[in-house]
Amino acid sequence: MTTATVNSKGVGTPTTRIYGALAIVALGWVLLGGLFFTPEDVVQGDAVRIMYVHVPTAWVAYLAFIVTGIASACWLIGKKHSLGFDRVAGASAEVGVVFMAMTLLSGSLWGRITWGTYWVWDPRLTTTAFLFVTYVGYLAVRGLGGSPEQRARRSSVIALLAVLEIPLVHFSVVLWRSLHQQASVLSPDGDIKMDGLMLFTLLFGVFGFSVLFAWLVSHRQRIMAMQDALQTNALDAAVSERLREAQV
């Protein structure tokens, strides 16, 4: 931990560079494909292009929260209680919150175009907002202070409880009669109703955002390791400060 933090100039490694390159390429394709190559929608026209950001960010946010849950479980179950898991959980939740915010933002812009309003009190939208707030709360709990161990203990509980909300968001369109799009790609009947290129671009977008997620998390997690190390250094300084106090 400390070796990596003190010596290297940045937090990049060969692996993260590969992630970065992949993410740029994939997202570049999605940009071009989404804006120019894919056809207009019969009903929605050009507005449908928002989908290539909206849906991947939503799914990758789910992915991020699930990773947070798994990492938290690993921390809890692991005999050594390795803090690495906790950092991955935290980093993943941070990225997930950002992606979820993008979903909310792109969704409300899309809503403005198709439904004529930024926001309606629709089950999918509302539960998405709840999920977002839940993870903002999770991050707030991480920021409560105390030792890194205690932070890990508290936040892992919250993470495991919060991840249960994802099914609620996903099935909200089924549970409550919803204005929002029914699950059409991941529909229970397995029947995909979409143009081939559109579907490809969408799925490639999912891939691209996933790699972006991995890239961001690997950086963020290493920054957190450095912050923990800094905290340790600060403690060293504070202890020797106090020792000097005793000499007076």
Binding site: A234, L235, A238, V239, L243, E245, A246
Partner: protein, 216 residues
């Protein structure tokens, strides 16, 4: 077992929001000792006692109390120690009797033990049915002590037990401490009333700025 120290801190560090209230404490307390902890305000006496009780985590160094490693597990030691802090830990809207009963139930003490403790701290009789919020400062402290006495802990951690008590109460608590020690318990007392506490203690340890100062 009985030769191992009851409290064994080596270079223990405890922090509050990054402030090292204990900055490397090394200290052993053997069974049956009554140790007086002294030192200026802010030296870390209360923090040391709370760390012994497993309330404050020890983030560096090693800390063992009654054979439990506090760095790994702060919880299992707790039922064997009794802590009297600066705060009384009483419920202001309940009566004295209800408070002592609650703590007795929770720690599994008998009615007889409860009655004895209340009588010793002179919070029985009329006082027993008054609410905590209607008591004087010393009466509250007596009630907290009664709740502590019913616990029959193996390690007593007392943070200024004399503060607020009248002369009779002070004598009584000294007696209780001595009895506990002779019955096999170990006692650590933090106090600023050094004269009184010195008579009671078998040994004195000075804390300054989060460290044990060598006794000269």
């Amino acid at each position: 077992m009985s030769t191992a120290p009851v409290v064994d801190f080596v270079d223990a560090v405890a922090v509050y929001n990054g402030y090292p209230a204990l900055a490397g404490v090394t200290m052993q307390v053997m069974r049956n000792e009554i140790v007086l902890l002294q030192g200026p305000n802010g030296a870390g006496k209360s923090t040391f006692l709370r760390a012994c009780a497993g309330l404050v985590p020890v983030v560096r160094g090693s800390a063992h109390v009654l054979g439990c490693d506090l760095v790994i597990d702060r919880e299992s030691v707790r039922e064997r120690v009794g802590l009297l802090g600066h705060q009384n830990g009483l419920f202001a809207d309940l009566t004295v009797m209800e408070n002592v009963s609650f703590w007795s139930t929770v720690v599994g003490a008998t009615t007889a033990e409860r009655g004895a403790a209340m009588q010793r701290m002179a919070v029985d009789g009329q006082l027993a049915n008054r609410r905590i919020s209607e008591l004087s400062a010393g009466q509250k402290r007596r009630c907290a002590l009664a709740c502590l006495v019913v616990r029959r802990a193996e390690l007593w951690l007392l943070d200024e037990p004399h503060a607020g008590l009248d002369a009779k109460g002070r004598d009584e608590i000294d007696l209780i401490i001595k009895e506990a020690a002779s019955a096999g318990a170990t006692v650590v007392v933090a106090s600023h009333e050094i004269e009184r506490a010195k008579n009671l203690a078998t040994r004195t340890v000075s804390l300054v700025a989060g460290q044990v100062r060598d006794l000269s």
